[in-house]
Symmetry: C2
Subunit: 251 residues, 2 copies
Amino acid sequence: MNLTRAHEGPLPDMSCGRRQSRASVRICRECTVQTRAFCAVLDDAALAQMERLHTICCLAGEESLFMEDDAAIAFFTVLKGALRLSKLLPDGRRQITGFVLPGEFIGLAAGEVYAHNADALMDTSLCRFSLTDLDRIGQENPELNSRLLAMTNSNLSLAQDHMLLLGRMNALEKTANFLCSLRTRVAAADQPIDPLVLPMCRADIADYLGLTIETVSRTLTRLKANNIISLPEHNLVRINDIAALTQLAEG
Amino acid sequence: MNLTRAHEGPLPDMSCGRRQSRASVRICRECTVQTRAFCAVLDDAALAQMERLHTICCLAGEESLFMEDDAAIAFFTVLKGALRLSKLLPDGRRQITGFVLPGEFIGLAAGEVYAHNADALMDTSLCRFSLTDLDRIGQENPELNSRLLAMTNSNLSLAQDHMLLLGRMNALEKTANFLCSLRTRVAAADQPIDPLVLPMCRADIADYLGLTIETVSRTLTRLKANNIISLPEHNLVRINDIAALTQLAEG
DNA sequence: CGGCCTATTGAATTTCTTCAAATAGTGTGG
DNA sequence: CCACACTATTTGAAGAAATTCAATAGGCCG
């Protein structure tokens, strides 16, 4: 699904508001992710401006937000749900480069076009700004660019960690690392971690870790056989021995 | 080698100046990389300030600029030479996450400490600023942060490309991709590309591509056997069939 | 010339993938 | 409510790719 086809408009169950703002920041201040999002550093005046300019988009699971080489015109903060970022080779091989969770942003491109695909893992809602609006507000509010720079650096650091995983870890280490990282990230978002919910299917895990579906499945089975984890359901993991899992995850 | 041990002071053969500035921008304007570096967007006033605050560091080949977990206190632009960025696993396995060429910067950390090692591939000189100075100038010159953000986004995009390579390409594709990318980057810096000089050893190529030294060597031999490249010397590559190499490089 | 380091080549082994089949879970329509 | 189909996941066996271990070749420097 293309940007232009994304549903736009008020969301009945969203705490983050709708377009018609009265130059107040009431709506943004009530937003569930505002304190973690890029806009957390803005003062009330700037936030009121953002509130006037934002749009809400919703995606159903597996819907696409944008694709590689689409013109980069918009910037999004995930409010609820999650996105999957991926790149493809011409023959269809796919590498998932990361997941975007609530409070995180997506859409700053290095050039005129996006460098990867962004799809919803599940029903997802986003707070959207045009890049031209964002640029303008950035010029008027230097702290915004500092904030975006810090968040982008943090993404770069995650990317470097993931390169180490992809290039130098074996299947067991990759899988253990994935489970530990997911647990940490889910815990940081104050979500329950026991059991840990896997929001993506085996194919997504495989394409994230640079493995095949079968190898991911076998590796999870092996962790289960060693009593390090249990798999009560396909998308649920109980971590029985976090020390052992962490040990594996670090190589 | 640690930051504090890096040689500092005037460089006889450097076009980019030394510490004692006279509030002019003469020295920076003569710098060989200034038009490509992050500071290219600064006006004369800001540049004069930078000129007062900068220091020149020199590293010999294989010397370390900083290590993972060192306190992040400084920011560097490569003037001449090249750096290698890497991360290590506890048992010594290494992943090279990128190379830093003249005009590019290094040192913006996501947190209090650096997230990777940075070592010189060869004799390298750098233009150094403390992060506190950089922050201050960034606050006074919003265009600086925009520029750093754009350059960081470009690094992130390269990192995502490299994840695709590490996770989903085979040895032949990885090696072809490496040669094509190096060629493009060297050409962009107006350096000769025929023969193409490999500034790093096989071990570095292997750790960059997530392969072993032996596999890199075998793959280069294979490309040579197919007349796609020639290897006149260990560190020189002639690309005989750029179309075929590009074809392989794209998967 | 000899030693040392890097790179190449060869053979055996391991890991992961590929191909194939079985199982489990989910939703639909009768 | 059950039979059926569909999909995702697991499991098994065979194969391929890359690694590991071992030996050789090529440069460079003293």
